[in-house]
């Protein structure tokens, strides 16, 4: 388990680095795909098979394919770096530290670190045992359609608006031409 976790974590990290560091867009995009697949492996290790599959289908399979599609259509050249190295390091460093602190604070919510580095805290309502007893897909579906119904519907409305807008723009351009 820990071996697989280590491998997946390193690959995810390398993928993330590749997104930022490679100067050619297609390599950035492929690094992002690598990162997402590695994240899916991490989800699998957490016993979240459904989330892992959705992660690959939606992000690696659909969103990134569209990205790559656009990259091929526009075929952009290599990235031009306008700001100096020092400024980029400074801005990136500040952002990274702030983000890490935020994530760390959220992760440690209600968890205390005891002796020998052991973590103490109460299990929430969605412990692996509870989720597996009810079924992973069922738990997610229940939550989506009860607790998170409003955000869920608002998101679908937003996507609908975006789709209608895209169709309108593409049709108007065709009429102009």
């Amino acid at each position: 388990m820990s071996v697989i976790f280590g491998l997946a974590a390193v690959i995810a990290f390398l993928g993330a680095l590749g997104v930022v560091l490679s100067q050619r867009t297609i390599y950035s995009a492929m690094s992002l795909v690598l990162n997402m697949v590695a994240l899916a492996v991490l989800f699998l290790l957490l016993d979240a098979q459904f989330i892992a599959a959705v992660q690959i289908i939606v992000y690696a399979g659909a969103v990134m394919v569209l990205f790559v599609f656009i990259i091929a259509l526009l075929s952009p050249g290599a990235e031009e770096r306008l700001r100096s190295v020092e400024l980029r390091l400074l801005l990136g460093g500040v952002g990274a530290v702030a983000f890490t602190l935020l994530i760390g604070r959220l992760t440690l919510n209600g968890i205390t670190v005891g002796a020998h580095g052991r973590l103490h805290g109460a299990l929430g309502p969605f412990s692996p045992a509870a989720v597996n007893a009810h079924g992973q897909v069922q738990t997610l579906g229940d939550q989506l359609f009860t607790t998170y119904l409003l955000p869920f519907e608002v998101t679908s409305l937003m996507l609908l608006v975006a789709a209608v807008g895209a169709v309108y723009l593409s049709r108007r351009r065709r009429q102009l031409a």
Binding site: Q49, A62, V68, F69
Partner: protein
């Protein structure tokens, strides 16, 4: 006590690894052989349909033709275009073959076998208490169907990168077409598969097969089966949907600039993908390993499974040599304006049926 626990856990892990490796090697071997003989079958079927003999010189009835083809592919000169992106150019065919082989790992060929009397050696299973549940599929996932959809959606990168990295116009056009086509038809395929999932109430492929013991889903979901099969033809780039490699306009589409075994890997991926989509159709719609008639014995499971897959594969070849290729805009229109609405309608009807049941 502690040491015993550790050694038992280590044995269990070791056993799991050994079982997985053996199954993996078997799956790869069987799929490779299937690929080799499918190329021969395709040529024989096409020859029959066109009133020819087909390959009949190498071995009796041409049975050694795949071996001769293999030797030819391995010894051919590897021609590669100037100005290619070498890393992605070499990565693409490997990715295609890997994705195709990987997708098959969750397909159950027969029911789980329970090896009794091996207390605690294997994973715990409710259906096999105190024994070792030996699954026929390499990875027994609760979300097997979603896993297959996820892996096949990654296959598009292989085609796309192959076309893009070649730095040549026909491959690029083929790659663009294939990305657009795969995204469009994936929707239809997914909608077609949700129907049986609703009926079975599970995404686990073995559960889906077991739910069909009295009636195969193809009889409850005839529309779903037709939609799936049509979408599957498009997903595997078979005629009449083989626009990514339409030879009349694009030479050979995304793999124009590949030769030798590099082309062979793309070719292999196409045929293995055919086997995979036909296996999914068998598992989801045709009752998997169940005997086709009630008076036939059920214990011949794997044979029924292979027979059904072979029938579907023959159907795919038959379609290929019978129908002409669609025009590209018609293909996209067909996907979005016919298959997708039909899939949605089928899904709604099924939902109402399941809700009222």
């Amino acid at each position: 006590m502690g040491e015993e626990g550790v050694s038992a856990a280590a044995t269990s892990v070791l056993l799991a690894v050994v079982v997985a490796v053996v199954k993996g090697v078997l799956i790869i071997f069987v799929l490779m052989t299937a690929f080799a003989y499918l190329t021969l079958a395709e040529r024989k079927v096409s020859a029959r349909i066109q009133l020819r003999y087909g390959p009949n010189r190498v071995g009796p009835f041409g049975f050694l033709q795949p071996a001769a083809d293999g030797v030819k592919l391995f010894t051919k000169e590897k021609v590669a275009p100037e100005g290619r992106d070498n890393f992605l150019y070499l990565l693409a065919p490997a990715l295609a073959a890997c994705a195709a082989l990987f997708a098959f790992s969750v397909i159950p060929i027969d029911q789980t076998i329970c090896i009794a009397g091996t207390h605690g050696a294997g994973p715990l299973s409710a259906s096999c208490p105190g024994g070792y549940p030996l699954h026929w599929d390499l990875a027994h996932l609760n979300i097997g169907l979603l896993f297959i959809l996820a892996i096949t959606s990654l296959g598009v990168y292989a085609i796309f990168l192959g076309g893009w990295a070649s730095n040549s116009k026909y491959p690029l056009l083929g790659a663009l077409r294939s990305s657009a086509q795969l995204i469009s038809y994936e929707m239809a395929v997914s909608f077609a598969l949700i129907g049986p999932v609703l009926l079975a109430g599970s995404l686990n492929l073995e559960t889906i097969v077991n739910q069909q013991h009295s009636l195969w889903f193809v009889f409850l979901q005839p529309m779903g089966f037709l939609l799936y099969f049509t979408g599957a033809l498009a997903e595997t780039n078979r005629l009449p949907f083989d626009l990514p490699e339409a030879e009349a306009e694009l030479v050979a589409g995304y793999h124009t600039e590949y030769s030798g075994m590099r082309f062979g890997l793309f070719f292999m991926a196409e045929y293995i993908n055919m086997v995979t989509v036909c296996s999914i159709a068998t598992v989801v719609f045709l009752g998997g390993w169940m005997a086709p008639f009630f008076f036939l014995p059920n214990w011949l499971g794997p044979i029924w499974f292979v027979a059904k897959v072979a029938l579907l594969l023959f159907l795919m070849m038959w379609v290929r040599w019978t129908f002409p290729r669609l025009r590209y805009d018609r293909l996209m229109q067909f996907g979005w304006k016919v298959l997708l609405p039909l899939g949605l309608a089928n899904l709604m009807l099924t939902s109402v049926f399941v809700a009222l049941r």
